[in-house]
């Protein structure tokens, strides 16, 4: 028996040396170890072995294992060689070639607006949406603009032939928002505004503002400073310093102009802040008691603050744009640069 199994083994070794394809290897496996393979046939003879069946069986099993290993090793070698061959024959792909997939872009204002919205929503503000055409009442009267105020003149405001106006400021939405929510109120409302103005690099007749109101018991100037500081620090991604100066707007009392210590030069002086170290950024103030009253809120119980951020100005500052007209121009050479991440 030992001889017979050795004979088969030698046969296999000889055959394998001549095999170069996995299929031939498979055929050899069937020929030797298959249902009627040579080794299998030997096992069938086992029942006729008169004595020491166990020992003979061991010899056969050992031989079978040895042959199986021989074939398996050859199979593995061939498989490896095949992969090796596939790898070596592969085309080297130049992944540095461009993909051709074009990325879209958001308008720079949208990007800044969303950033600011997210800062405020994270502080519990609701984001409201206003109209672009407003009634004279909402745009002027409700926010305490006197009947004869120059802002109501034709040369400053786009009046429409139905008696309404293209809203001159986001404050036009205040009345509606004060009425919609009961104090405490924290809301911001971005929107497109219009002024009947000659257009140049720093003046637009169509521009975006983002206004905010906070109404509660005992809202103070200190609170206003806090919100402005936090918001601007998030936007400019560094701790900023703000300062208030006196301003005058009919809808707030007291009114302020808010400056931010120039975040581009840390106040040392640069072209952006015209070497002044401060950038005028945001008119704001404590909501005038008449505006609260018009919104159905008792100014003896509640107070509030409001601010109006120039979204166009923020956008221009953030992206270093110097001509406001670009924002409404549809100039794709510029706009395509604001690719979505």
């Amino acid at each position: 028996m030992q001889n017979k199994i050795n004979e088969i083994k030698n046969y296999v070794v000889e055959k394998l040396s001549g095999i170069n394809a996995q299929a031939d290897c498979q055929a050899l496996r069937v020929e030797i170890l298959g249902k009627s393979g040579k080794v299998t046939e030997l096992f069938k003879l086992l029942k006729d072995v008169p004595e020491e069946k166990g020992k003979v069986g061991q010899i056969l099993n050992a031989g079978k294992a040895e042959i199986d290993a021989l074939i398996s090793n050859k199979e593995k070698a061939l498989a490896n060689a095949e992969i090796e061959k596939e790898i070596n024959s592969a085309e080297k792909i130049d992944i540095t070639l461009p993909t051709g997939a074009e990325c879209g872009s958001l308008h720079p204002r949208t990007i800044i607006q969303r950033e600011i919205e997210e800062v405020f929503t994270s502080m519990g503000f609701v984001v409201e949406d206003g109209n672009e055409v407003e009634t004279e009442y909402n745009n002027f009267t409700a926010v305490n603009v006197p009947e004869n105020h120059p802002a109501r003149d034709m040369q400053d405001t786009f009046w429409l032939d139905n008696g309404e106006v293209l809203k001159t400021h986001t404050s036009a939405s205040q009345n509606r928002i004060l009425k919609k929510y009961a104090p405490p109120i924290r809301a911001i409302f971005p929107g497109r505004c219009f002024r009947n103005e000659d257009v140049d690099a720093s003046h637009e007749n169509t521009f975006f503002q983002l206004e905010g109101v906070i109404v509660d018991k005992d809202v103070s100037v200190g609170n206003l400073i806090y919100f402005m500081k936090e918001m601007l620090s998030k936007i400019f991604k560094k701790q900023v310093e703000v300062r208030l100066r006196p301003g005058f707007f009919p809808f707030t009392e007291p009114s302020f102009e808010m400056d931010v210590r120039c975040p581009f030069c840390d106040g040392k002086g640069c072209p952006t802040c015209k070497n002044g170290g401060w950038i005028e950024l945001c008119p704001c103030g404590m909501i005038h008691p008449q505006v609260l009253r018009n919104g159905g809120i008792d100014p003896e119980v509640y107070s509030g603050c409001a601010f109006g951020l120039g979204l166009d100005r923020m956008t221009m500052l953030s992206f270093n744009l110097n001509d406001i007209r670009e924002l409404n121009s549809g100039n794709l050479k510029l706009l395509k640069q604001f690719k979505i991440k």
Binding site: A101, E102, C103, G104, L106, H107, R109, T110, G124, F125, V126, V127, N131, E132, V133, N148, D153, M154, Q155, F158, W159, L160, D161, N162, G163, L166, P184, R186, F194, N196, D198, V199, N205, T206, D216, V219, S220, V221, G222, N223, I225, Y226, K229, R243, R245, P246, E253, P254, S255, E257, M286, H288, P289, L327, N328, G330, N331, L332, L335, I340
Partner: protein, 790 residues
């Protein structure tokens, strides 16, 4: 407005405070400073000199050779071109080595003659307006005296932003500004030196009549025997430093009072004007002003007339030529008046004449000031010309007096609004500095507003919060957060959806967002042949250049595509913006928030159309609704055949399609165009697709192909709707595998190959089950004009 710091210092001692600190605190407490300019430092080595001799220049007709005594002991030879040179004239002389503004004075030869210095003109020095010759100084001036000892030429000029003074009528003169400085730095404000008007009580009154309520107060006084013609060098210097020109004594004095107190005044020649009648004209009037310009005064303007009711001045704006003071004037009727701010503003705008006076009146001046101004002018006039005599009593028609505001508040209110704890005493102290009268009792405050703050600026306790904290220093208020109840924050669905759509269009579909104007662009639309009928129009279209508001958004995007067509082979733009195509029953505009997309490229029209569909479907998914493209669109800018309405349930949300070939060809022949316009708000109203999740089945699914044929032109939607409405007991999924038209035996027919997968819920399908299903399915589909292709 330009403020001279020297002038301010006449009223308040600011010694020991640096200019930087002065301007910084003023900027933070009162009003915005536009610029700070140090002047006069460039006038060096200029002294009083007397002309000793005048000789004609040997080679020039207009030059003279002078010898002057500049106090150095040796006469100096200088060549001078001024026509007013004469022996004995005292003038300002710049010595060699000195400086007049940018000019460094060196020994020079002027047309061959040595000249060692320069006799200076008032305009060259910046101290007078006159350009005709050299300065003529008073004979008392001492030769050799440096200019800076004669006149405060070194000064700091502070330019204040007029806009930031809009609500502060009291700050339109130096005295008011001085009051602010005094309050900010807690220094006393000196009282004005005034003439005592009560001394003239016994003189006869002037004839002043006021016939309009828009003249709040008209004060006048008459003066005679005025012999001096020119104002003092100091007055001239200040006028010139503050941006005005000196003219003659009386004009200069009235201007000086305006710059000092903010009260415009006018001087009439009393020889020509006996009395005053202030009227509101009912008919247009013509009047020639001091500048020899004739203006038509529209009806309902306030007009100053003489006793014969002839117009002599447009109230608060400009004086007339006829009765103005001239060279020979020696008696005056002085006007110091107060008018309704709106009346002055209206007239000024109508005439198109904005003056220093009208700018001040527009701010609602304090009527109390008219008397002070007269008394001040008389005081100054007497200083210059001691011979003048007042010839009438102070005559005053005071028609409208502002109420005196008394504000009751308490320290706690002021403190809470500011966010800083202040005592009643601290508050009272600040307000008193600003001229308020304050009564303190415990925490309570009773505050009387001074007349100069009471015309419109301060009337409620919130106004006091401003006064207190701007003086306390806004920069001393600490930033503080607040405590508010924790409540969930609502999101406004349209606002959120708008951003989600924008983000998807840019990130998923590679589109570029644009922002445009809301105008209708009539010219562009006309050139393309787009129907353009705005529903609302602008009343004044001069600055926008457009007459109305757009009723649809897509033409604006086509305009952008047109502007970019030569720069890009492919244009994929979108905007979410408003359109204004409807009025409600109250005639108010109904705004619509629209999404518009324009695609332009060399791709086939079909490819563009399908790209739009893909985008639209995704936008629908974002809003949670399923869109249908099965109806025709009436949008005239789109291709008559290859366009569709975008619908959901019964709602028409918008339209999309290939651009009408007429338009497309006009924009760019090399590109194909497709456009979409969709109402974003309506998207939210559209029926929401149910998001029911179906449990998966463990039984074997069966996949079947059916080939249905119908007449050419039969839409896939017809087939699909039939499948959608098909009901059976299995889970059914389907998809379109193939479309054939006019293929072989399919002449004038169209064939759709549909793959249907059915999954049983509770058993394994048998051949019989499948056969039964197929037969029923085919029968159902054949009901909508399809037949199974054998």
């Amino acid at each position: 407005m330009i403020i001279s710091l020297n002038w301010i210092k006449e009223f308040v001692d600011l010694s020991g405070i640096e200019v930087d600190e002065l301007t910084k605190r003023f900027g933070l407490s009162t009003a915005e400073i536009e610029s700070v300019t140090h002047v006069g430092g460039d006038l060096k080595n200029i002294v009083v000199a007397e002309i000793l001799s005048v000789e004609n220049h040997p080679q020039s007709n207009h030059l003279h050779v002078l010898k002057v005594d500049d106090g150095s002991g040796t006469p100096v030879q200088v060549v001078c071109s001024a026509p007013n040179v004469r022996v004995g004239l005292k003038t300002f002389f710049c010595r060699v080595g000195g400086q007049v503004k940018d000019m460094k004075i060196k020994p020079v030869k002027m047309v061959g003659v040595d000249s060692n210095g320069m006799c200076c003109g008032g305009n060259e020095l910046g101290i007078e307006a006159d350009t005709s010759g050299i300065v003529e100084l008073d004979q008392n001036a001492k030769v050799g005296t440096p200019i800076e000892e004669m006149l405060p030429v070194e000064d700091v000029l502070i330019e204040i932003d007029n806009k930031s003074l809009t609500n502060r009528p009291d700050l339109w003169g130096h005295y008011g500004i001085a009051r602010e400085f005094a309050a900010i730095f807690n220094r006393p404000l000196k009282p004005l030196e005034l003439d005592d008007l009560s001394a003239y009580e016994k003189l006869k009154k002037l004839n002043i009549k006021v016939e309009t309520k828009n003249c709040f107060r008209y004060s006048g006084i008459a003066v005679e025997n005025i012999l001096k013609k020119v104002a003092s060098p100091l007055i001239k210097l200040r006028l010139n430093y503050c941006g005005m020109r000196d003219i003659n004594l009386l004009a200069d004095l009235t201007n000086y009072i305006m710059l000092e107190l903010g009260q415009p005044m006018h001087a009439f020649d009393h020889a020509k004007v006996g009395g005053i009648t202030v009227i509101e004209n009912t008919k247009p009037l013509e009047m020639e002003t001091l500048e020899h310009t004739t203006h038509t005064i529209e009806p309902n303007s306030v007009v100053i007339c003489d006793e014969k009711r002839e117009p002599i001045a447009i109230a608060g704006i400009k004086g007339g030529l006829k009765d103005s003071i001239g060279e020979d004037t020696n008696s005056l009727l002085l006007e110091s008046a107060c008018f309704d701010s709106m009346a002055i503003r209206k007239t000024s705008r109508k005439i198109g004449l904005i003056t220093d006076a009208s700018l001040r009146y527009e701010k609602s001046l304090d009527p109390e000031l008219t008397k002070t101004a007269l008394a001040r002018l008389l005081y100054l006039l007497k200083q210059i010309d001691s011979g003048v005599r007042v010839s009438s009593s102070f005559t005053d028609v005071y028609n409208f007096k502002y109420p005196t505001h008394t504000i009751k508040t308490d320290a706690d209110f002021i403190s809470r609004r500011g966010g800083v704890e202040l005592s009643a005493k601290q508050i009272a102290d600040i307000l008193t500095r600003l001229g308020f009268t304050v009564k303190v009792s415990g925490q309570k405050l009773e505050v009387i507003v001074p007349s100069w703050r009471g015309t419109k600026d301060v009337s409620i306790k919130e106004d006091l919060v401003e006064e207190v904290f701007r003086m306390y220093g806004y920069d001393n208020i600490k930033s503080s957060t607040m405590s508010m109840p924790l409540t969930p924050v609502d999101k406004i669905p349209t606002h959120e959806l708008e951003y989600e759509i924008k983000l998807a269009l840019a990130s998923k579909f590679g589109l570029n967002e644009v922002h445009s104007y809301v105008w209708n662009y009539a010219d562009f639309n006309k050139s393309l042949g787009i129907e353009d009928k705005p529903v609302v129009h602008l009343m004044d279209a001069s600055k926008s250049g457009q007459s109305g508001l757009r009723v649809t958004l897509t033409p604006t995007l086509l305009k952008f595509a047109d502007e970019n067509k030569n720069k890009f082979a492919e244009i994929n733009i979108f905007e979410i913006g408003r359109t204004f195509d409807e009025l409600d029953k109250d005639n108010l505009v109904i705004e619509k928030k629209k999404l518009s997309i324009v695609l332009a490229s060399a791709d086939s029209e079909k490819a563009l159309y399908f790209k739009l569909k893909e985008i639209a479907e995704y936008v629908g998914t974002l809003a949670g609704c399923e869109l249908s493209f099965d109806s025709n669109s009436s949008n005239k800018i789109l291709h008559p055949i290859n366009s569709c309405a975008i619908t959901s349930g019964n709602l028409i949300l918008g339209s999309m399609g290939i651009l009408h070939p007429t338009l497309a060809k006009k924009i760019d022949k090399r590109k194909h165009f497709a456009a979409l316009e969709l109402d974003v708000n309506k998207l939210l109203d559209a029926p929401k697709q149910s998001k029911k999740i179906v449990p998966t089945s463990k039984f074997q699914a069966v996949s079947l192909d059916f080939n249905f044929v119908a007449a050419a032109g039969t839409k896939y939607a017809t087939l699909e709707n039939a499948i959608k409405n098909f009901r059976c007991n299995y889970l059914l999924e389907y998809g379109l595998k193939d479309v054939y038209t006019n293929d072989g035996d399919l002449k004038d027919k169209i064939s759709y190959t549909i793959n249907v997968t059915i999954t049983p819920k509770d058993k394994t399908l048998t051949a019989t089950d499948i056969e039964k299903f197929s037969a029923y399915f085919i029968k159902t589909i054949e009901k909508v004009s399809f037949e199974l292709r054998k």
